[in-house]
């Protein structure tokens, strides 16, 4: 029988994968994908807990997150295109021009 624990473990694993992606990846586009992965890990946790408590609020919140993620991608991708046009690269090591 698959219970809440399993869902949460999956969610934690996916979140960790996303976090490692954020920390290790050098390409901005890949960072975006990694954040999406993390957001969806959270969505899984929300949906599972919502079901467990029989409370729809968590699922509603998951929808909100999906909506925000979508708009974020729309804005973010636009910025990435501008950035790419300006510098010809999306590699973070190339974009480091704010060194203190």
């Amino acid at each position: 029988m698959i219970g809440l624990t399993h869902y949460l473990i999956v969610s934690a694993i996916i979140f960790s994968i996303g976090l490692v992606g954020v920390l290790r990846r050098r390409n901005l586009l890949m960072l975006f994908f990694a954040t999406e992965v993390m957001l969806n890990a959270v969505n899984i946790a929300f949906a599972a807990i919502s079901h467990y408590y029989n409370d729809l609020t968590g699922q509603m919140f998951a929808f909100f997150i999906i909506a925000i993620a979508a708009s974020e991608v729309a804005v973010g991708l636009g910025l990435l295109i501008v950035l790419y046009k300006k510098y010809g690269s999306l590699d973070l090591d190339d974009l480091a021009n704010m060194k203190g």
Partner: protein
């Protein structure tokens, strides 16, 4: 009548503010004229108040506004015009008016003419607050106000450089101003403590409330309050051991010396003792100490005046000596006689100083009486004025000083304090000697200055006319004595000579007179025909001791000033630099170093930042988890 109170008080303030408007601009004669007119207005208002109180016998008590009101403490801006304060007001405004007019002539060539009038009027305003206030707090405000104005005016020629003590005993105007200010601060601490003691035990600083509760207070409290207040009076009135500043204060312009350091401010201490007479009359030990100290100072200062060569310093020592007389009278319980001597002294001493100013003006700033002589001819009026003032000071019959000083000496006899009486009598002889030594050396004999380059000239006419009221009062003020007694004893305790003293009063008077005339004759013999230097006498120990003011300034410098400077330097180098500064610098250095160290985090690489962010989040998570475990 209330309006007259405000006019008397605020006319000098208006004058000061008006003159201050032109403080930075070049000399404008009208500033001096308007200031003098406003001061004259103040005098007229004071005189009308005096007349009103004289005829009706009523005192005026007004409260202008609430000043401090916090918890149980209420101090109003209240003014009390009674017999004592109206006497002071009239004397102060009269002398101030004369001095203001005099200054128009005396400060004629000074480029800070306007500034001078601003300070001078500000002084009069402070003095009026001091004498008119109906509580100790207001008195203290005036007390500090006159202190500040005195500082400003002594150091009026602040640009003069410091010189050695041998060249000029008061070093420089700014040095003298600071000395006066600092010495007064020391005494003011005593005064403040006195006010605190009074407030602590009475719960009010209003004169009437304080004096009404005096019988309920214990003897030790009364003694403590009286001693503390008298310490304040000692500073302002330059009593030993806080006397050195007064002679150094002669660095200020001469009108200042006449107004502040002879007629008004220095008598504030005497005024305080008279004002607080209910307190001092229930503390006989303190009062006796005041009388003894006053007598000592009278003699001590007169002895220094005997050999001094500086025209203004001689008069300053004489002021000191006369203040001693006033304290002697006040300490012996003859408050009204002290006040009468205060008023009479204000007239003839201001006149003497203004005369000295004329001489100084004529001699191009020279003050050494050994380098004068023969000024009788070119300066006939000044000679007359200074002669009259000196006669009054010496206590020659029918001049003002005769009545007041004789009464003080008689009081000393009447109280049975024969030692004080004897000292005061001898001092009267010394007073006569040094006053006339100065007059003869200045005006008689042959000229000892360089006649080819210096042509002494008399002061302006209007100045001489302005001085005449003082001259008239120096001559006739004594005749008002019984009237004054009748007037003032409505408020102050009356003091009567015993039957026995009354009988022999003429003998006592004669003894004083013999000493006074003896002093004058001696001075005449020695100095009237010019100066004969006596090497043997001048090199004697006593002469040197007196000429160097008993080496007290030097002693203070060695015992107080220099160790204090050393201590300050020690504090600066060891405590301030090594402890305080090092701590502050340490904090700054730590911030700099930590900033510099963590600067490397800022690589500009987003990936690194995200790593740091993750580290921070993990740390926060750990902290949250740990704290959750413990709750």
């Amino acid at each position: 009548m209330e309006n007259f109170v405000y006019i008397a008080l605020f006319a000098p303030f208006a004058s000061s503010m008006f003159a201050a408007l032109f403080g930075m601009s070049p000399k404008q004669t009208f500033v001096g004229v308007i200031a003098s007119l406003l001061l004259f207005t103040s005098f007229l208002a004071s005189a009308s108040l005096a007349f009103y109180i004289w005829t009706t016998g009523q005192t005026i008590h007004v409260t202008m506004m609430e000043w401090i009101s916090a918890g149980d403490l209420t101090i109003p801006f209240g003014f009390l015009v009674d017999q004592v304060s109206v006497t002071m007001m009239t004397v102060v405004t009269l002398v101030s008016t004369v001095v203001h007019i005099y200054s128009i002539g005396y400060m004629d060539h000074d480029k800070s003419f306007n500034r001078f009038f601003s300070y001078l009027s500000a002084f009069v305003f402070s003095m009026m607050i001091l004498v008119m206030s109906d509580n100790f707090a207001g008195l203290f405000i005036g007390w500090e106000g006159v202190g500040v104005c005195s500082w400003l005016l002594i150091g009026f020629w602040y640009h003069k450089a410091d010189v050695s003590r041998e060249e000029n005993p008061s070093i420089s105007p700014s040095w003298a101003a600071n000395e006066a200010f600092i010495v007064n601060r020391i005494a003011d601490l005593g005064m403040l403590v006195g006010l605190f003691i009074i407030y602590w035990n009475v719960g009010s600083l209003q004169y009437d409330v304080v004096f009404a509760t005096l019988p309920d207070l214990s003897g030790s409290v009364l003694n403590a309050a009286a001693i503390a207040l008298f310490i304040g009076a000692m500073g302002k009135s330059a009593q030993f051991p806080l006397h050195t500043w007064l002679t150094d204060a002669m660095e200020g312009p001469t009108p200042v010396s006449a107004l502040i350091h002879a007629a008004t401010m220095v008598t504030a201490g005497v005024f305080l003792v008279i004002r607080a007479n209910p307190l001092f009359s229930v503390t006989p030990e303190v009062s006796y100490f005041i009388a003894a100290l006053g007598t000592f100072v009278a003699f001590f200062a007169a002895s220094m005046a005997l050999v001094n060569r500086d025209l203004k310093r001689i008069i300053a020592f004489s002021t000191l000596s006369q203040l001693g007389y006033m304290f002697a009278a006040a300490g012996l319980g003859a408050y009204w006689i002290a006040l009468f001597h205060l008023a009479a002294h204000a007239f003839f001493k201001a006149l003497l100083f203004l005369g000295a100013g004329n001489v100084m003006h004529a001699m191009d700033g020279e003050l050494d009486i050994f380098k004068m002589g023969g000024l009788k001819k070119p300066m006939r009026w000044t000679y007359l004025y200074m002669g009259l003032a000196s006669l009054a000071l010496a206590g020659i019959p029918f001049f003002a000083g005769f009545f007041s000083k004789d009464a003080i000496i008689e009081t000393a006899w009447n109280e049975g304090t024969i030692v004080l009486w004897a000292i005061l009598v001898v001092t009267a002889g010394m007073t006569a000697f040094y006053s006339f030594r100065q007059v003869f050396l200045t005006f008689h004999g042959k000229a000892r200055y360089d006649e080819s380059s210096l042509h002494p000239h008399e002061m302006y006419k209007f100045v001489l006319i302005a001085m005449s009221p003082l001259a008239i009062l120096a001559v006739v003020a004594g005749f008002g004595m019984s009237g004054f007694e009748h007037f003032i004893t409505k408020l102050l305790p009356d003091y009567h000579m015993s039957e026995h003293t009354h009988h022999i009063a003429w003998i006592l008077g004669l003894v004083v007179l013999v000493f006074a005339v003896g002093g004058i004759v001696l001075a005449y013999k020695k100095y009237a025909n010019g100066l004969k230097r006596d090497e043997k006498c001048e090199n004697s120990f006593i002469y040197k001791l007196l000429a160097n003011q008993y080496y007290i300034p030097q002693l203070y410098e060695e015992v107080i000033t220099k160790p204090y400077a050393m201590l300050s330097e020690h504090m600066w180098k060891d405590i301030d630099m090594k402890i305080v500064d090092t701590t502050v610098d340490g904090i700054a250095k730590f911030l700099y170093k930590s900033g510099d160290g963590t600067r490397k985090m800022q690589t500009g690489n987003l990936s690194n930042y995200l790593n740091w962010m993750a580290v921070g989040s993990v740390l926060l998570l750990v902290v949250a988890a740990i704290s959750a475990m413990f709750v």
